[in-house]
Symmetry: C2
Subunit: 234 residues, 2 copies
């Protein structure tokens, strides 16, 4: 197919396709003659992956190129997932604060809340307790330490043991996640699905927690109201 | 105490305290004489809440004022939590994309992925199936519909039934969250903890999922490798 059809079928504008090609993200098509290039189904699939990484994953073009290079290497599914997983943006509390920056007045130093030794040790202890296999290079180790450290500075300290019930639920969630990948053998399709699952499905998981919190607030309120034959002291 | 001590004890710079006071977020102290104002412990507590809302919650000053007004009204804990919960920024997939905007080249329309009728109906069906009590005004209803709609446009459609296992785990997570609020009777302390729990603890929950995913990838790989007496076909 020509670039116009590639654009139509992929939903990516021609200018964007050319940009991705210039940046080395999209392989060249087959030259039919000096002015016409033929693209195949593999270009549509590749464009979907690029689009997922950049638009949903929030990856830079350079980072996207790294992930695509990894996908192109003859890795097995396990390794491909590992590369994609570590390349995606890492959740952090700091991100939320950015939006309000312009409006928040003079700056306050929250950088005090940087990761400390104690927090890293707690992350290691948690991973050991859970028997999780996590690489030393995982970006999620220091990110978790940083979050725990920030919580500690706000008077909300958590030990490794405090987090185990949450970690158990996370294991169950991850098992549901991987059930969604079962049966996908093609590496590019697998990488694409992993991006979608991690980046676009993550808000779903967070929103379900928010909804469940609202319901838990109702249930707690109801329990309190109904057990008040006499009004509680205080 | 004077403003300098208030600044020292709260960790908030004097200029920021004055800014919050001008914006009506922090009540005036007691005037000792035309040039000296006395602040109390309640100002420290209030500053901590303001700081949580703006810096961690990412709320604008206007939104922060609304939340503080609600906290000041004689609401019970249930209502206070409801107000805070709905005021906090709502998770969405779009946020991730923002970071890469400058670098992503020509724009692609993802607004096609706006919430459709089908997605809202699925959210309602899920809430009904779970027996969750969720107000019609909850910002998390349309946000979830939008996420599901975006996933659908990427070929990852989810029915209400598909989401039930995730919703069950979310209920368990929310129960753990509320166990953390047990015993906090003071309304301002409760509001502050709710902000911390929702905003700063949320990355912890997300990071635990990422770590558990890495472990699940290992477990899946190990299972596959070990059951390969003969190599699988294909």
């Amino acid at each position: 197919m020509r670039i116009s059809e590639l654009s139509r079928r992929s939903g990516v504008p021609v200018a964007t396709i050319k940009y991705y090609r210039r940046e080395g993200l999209l392989p060249e098509g087959r030259a039919l003659n000096p002015t016409a290039v033929e693209y195949g189904e593999e270009h549509i699939q590749r464009l979907r992956l690029i689009r997922s990484l950049i638009q949903l994953g929030g990856l830079s073009v350079a980072r996207t190129r790294e992930v695509l290079d990894a996908v192109d290497r003859p890795l097995d599914a396990f390794e491909t997932l590992g590369v994609v997983h570590h390349a995606l943006p890492v959740p952090s509390a700091g991100k939320n604060a950015k939006g309000a920056k312009d409006d928040a007045g003079p700056d306050i130093a929250v950088d005090e809340a940087m990761s400390d030794e104690g927090a890293s040790a707690r992350v290691d202890a948690l991973i050991n307790s859970m028997g999780w296999q996590i690489s030393d290079e995982s970006p999620h180790r220091p990110a978790l330490a940083e979050s725990l450290s920030a919580l500690g500075h706000l008077g909300a300290g958590y030990t490794a043991d405090d987090l185990i019930p949450y970690a158990r639920l996370a294991t169950s969630t991850a098992d549901l996640d991987f059930a969604q990948l079962d049966g996908i053998e093609d590496r590019i399709a697998l990488a694409e699905r992993a991006v979608v699952l991690t980046v676009l499905f993550e808000p779903v998981v967070r929103l379900l927690r928010r909804l469940a919190q609202e319901d838990a607030n109702h249930r707690r309120h109801h329990r309190r109201t109904c057990s008040q034959g006499e009004r509680p002291a205080g």
